[in-house]
């Protein structure tokens, strides 16, 4: 009898406390509480800004995003942490983000790796944490600000340059990571340009899984299957070195035109050697430096846009910033190489 009563009581408690997820219209980016933000520039010793990313040791992230974020932390004298899985693992990034939210950091800088992280970002915003997404936009995430690149434009610029180098004729292939929102936008940008040139034939999009060896293998296969291949466009940081390796091994340097993203030292060297014809780089340092600064400004109410931004529902940072891109070819590669030498 007692057991039955306990069971009924538990069942009642369970039904009573069942909580449905919020309907889509219920979400808001407004900062709801006045108390959650500090009103002075004095830095609390526990004030911590956290970057949550994936593939945390990817050289592109380490040399640009993380380096700028660390420098910003040193300059401002605040604690910073960089967290996330070692592999490209979006669910693990989400799990990390959700665990960080429970500790209520001063601000969150989230690498927009996939639209699937939208729910976790919503949780951070709902918890009153200033949250900025960088690199790629995450739709429906309620983030306070997005700073990043327009990947469609990066694909379009690669397509325009490829058409210019090849005089609007030839077979083109494209290598990147399939299934990522930003890269798929890049692929679309490239293909939209190629459609304007009837003489250009698009062979397809291939997945290098963010791996140099895989990019090299795909390139070698493409070269064997298409002796008249005119060019390859690359879309992830590892594609450039991979495709350059196979083009060199096949003795087709200069005959197969290569365009790709990013400007790591290896990419720049390959442009200098004439293996890669064109690089389109992102202003990644700006993503995290500006992003961190905006988080700080939100937390410290550096810029007030009303009598009380929090109560007025005003987010005192820009909604979206597209930082633009950097175009590199043989004409200006030396300036970037010089910059690398100076940094050493």
């Amino acid at each position: 009898m007692i057991a039955k009563n306990i069971f009924l009581l538990l069942a009642f408690a369970a039904c009573w406390s069942c909580e449905a997820p919020p309907r889509p219209a219920a979400s808001s980016t407004a900062i709801k509480s006045n108390e959650k933000f500090i009103t002075s520039d004095v830095i609390n010793p526990n004030e911590e800004y956290v970057m949550v990313t994936t593939a945390i040791n990817l050289p592109l992230y380490v040399n640009h995003d993380q380096a700028a974020f660390k420098k910003w932390g040193e300059k401002m004298g605040v604690r910073i942490s960089i967290l996330g899985p070692a592999e490209w693992d979006v669910p693990a990034q989400i799990a990390t983000l959700e665990q960080v939210i429970t500790g209520k950091p001063a601000g969150l800088l989230v690498n927009g790796t996939d639209p699937g992280i939208a729910q976790a970002i919503k949780k951070a915003v709902a918890a009153g944490i200033p949250t900025i997404v960088y690199d790629s936009e995450i739709p429906n995430s309620d983030r306070h600000c997005f700073i990043g690149s327009d990947w469609y434009e990066m694909g379009r610029l690669q397509g325009e340059r490829m058409a210019k180098i090849l005089n609007g004729k030839g077979k083109i292939a494209c290598i990147g990571i399939l299934g990522l929102e930003n890269m798929e936008a890049g692929f679309r940008g490239l293909q939209d340009v190629l459609k304007k040139y009837p003489g250009m034939v698009f062979l397809g999009t291939y997945d290098d899984k963010a791996n140099v060896e895989t990019a090299a293998r795909i390139t070698a296969d493409l070269l064997s299957a298409n002796p008249d291949l005119a060019g390859i466009a690359g879309f992830d940081s590892n594609t450039g070195p991979g495709m350059a390796l196979s083009v060199k091994e096949a003795g087709r340097v200069g005959k197969v035109k290569l365009t790709t993203v990013d400007f790591e030292p290896e990419h720049l060297r390959l442009v200098k050697e004439g293996v890669i014809d064109y690089l389109i780089g992102q202003k990644r340092e700006l993503f995290t430096w500006l992003g961190a600064q905006f988080l700080f400004d939100m937390r410290h109410k550096t810029v007030a846009l009303s009598g009380n931004d929090a109560l007025a529902g005003v987010v005192p940072v820009p909604k979206t910033i597209i930082t633009g891109s950097i175009e590199i070819d043989k004409t200006n590669v030396d300036i970037f190489l010089q910059n690398l030498k100076e940094r050493k």
């Binding site: 942490s81 070692a86 639209p115 729910q119 399939l178 299934g179």
Partner: protein
């Protein structure tokens, strides 16, 4: 039970380590670790891995394993998402299609391993690639904007805990009962311990093996639906590396690669242990560069300590 026997029981041993870890963390990080928010998040993060680990535990009791479970998680969510988003299929039918597709994959794995005698590692490795490709085709750059009903399944809360935690607990309890009390599941211990003897004693080993793979894929399919619903998105990268996490959890929880051993509670505790370590590293702000190294070392330490204690007891 004598103290020595307690130490020989991996479930007890793992529970003891988990309790010690919790106490250390609660003392070191009282504001961050010992909170309801953190515990509910911890349970939520291990729920998908545990559901998959339950299926893996049954396979490993029978002396097999399945490397395609991570891909099945992505496939199941991708299939349901694809049908709902592109074809406006009712969410229940879409879920049924996702889970049904997963069951077919499990059946194919089981049939090819049991009947065509393909090595389980080769078969499930090949299936892992095939199914990941299918998931990529279905999910593309990720599918979002699911119906409220679908999202409700993974995002609603009961007693402060998100739904996947309750599904996980229900599945764990159900399989603890089934594996302990039903003849059908007890047969897997015989198969794992001595396949030939099991066959001579009248157990239809091939059929049982097929069922084990179907069951593992079914649980992976359910996990995939829950993950998609929880994230509000079907991602082609979902479940990446999950197969290895599940195998690690199951081995930590007392299973043996040669079969014949293991308990469902062990699968849960193994997954809990790994989630706890992960939580510990995040709370203590250990850099991502170190996390993999530390995780590997802790796993070796846990298994090594267990073996050392076992030897000590046997020598007494």
């Amino acid at each position: 039970m004598k103290p020595a026997l307690y130490l020989r029981d991996k479930v007890f041993f793992l529970t003891a380590i988990i309790v010690i870890l919790c106490i250390v963390m609660a003392v070191t990080f009282p504001a961050q670790f010992a909170t309801i928010d953190n515990f509910s998040q911890l349970l939520l993060n291990l729920s998908i891995d545990t559901i998959v680990a339950v299926g893996m535990m049954i396979l490993m009791i029978a002396g097999m394993f399945d490397l395609s479970v991570g891909s099945i998680v992505a496939f199941s969510g991708g299939m349901a998402g694809y049908l709902m988003y592109y074809h406006n299929v009712n969410f229940l039918l879409a879920i049924a299609a996702g889970i049904g597709g997963s069951v077919i994959i499990g059946f194919l794995n089981g049939w090819l391993i049991a009947r065509a005698r393909i090595n389980p590692m080769i078969q499930t490795l090949a299936m892992m690639g095939i199914v990941r490709g299918l998931a990529l085709m279905l999910s593309g750059a990720g599918i979002q904007n699911f119906s409220y009903e679908f999202v409700y399944i993974g995002q609603s809360k009961l007693l402060g805990l998100q739904a996947p935690v309750w599904y996980m607990l229900a599945i764990v309890l159900l399989f603890i009962f089934l594996v302990r009390r039903t003849i059908f599941f007890r047969k897997y211990y015989f198969i794992g311990a001595n396949e030939k003897a099991a066959r001579f004693s009248g157990i239809r080993v091939e059929k049982m093996k097929i069922w084990a793979f179907v069951l593992s894929a079914l649980l992976a399919g359910i996990a995939g639906i829950l993950l998609s619903s929880r994230l509000g998105a079907a991602l082609s990268t979902s479940g990446k590396g999950l197969e290895l996490r599940a195998i690690t959890a199951v081995i930590l929880g007392g299973a043996s690669l040669s079969g014949g051993y293991g308990r469902i509670a062990g699968a849960f505790l193994g997954a809990l242990f790994m989630a706890l370590i992960n939580n510990m590293l995040i709370i203590s702000r250990v850099s991502g560069y170190w996390q993999e190294i530390i995780l590997g070392c802790i796993l070796i330490l846990a298994v090594g300590l267990d073996q050392w204690l076992l030897k000590k007891i046997e020598n007494k």
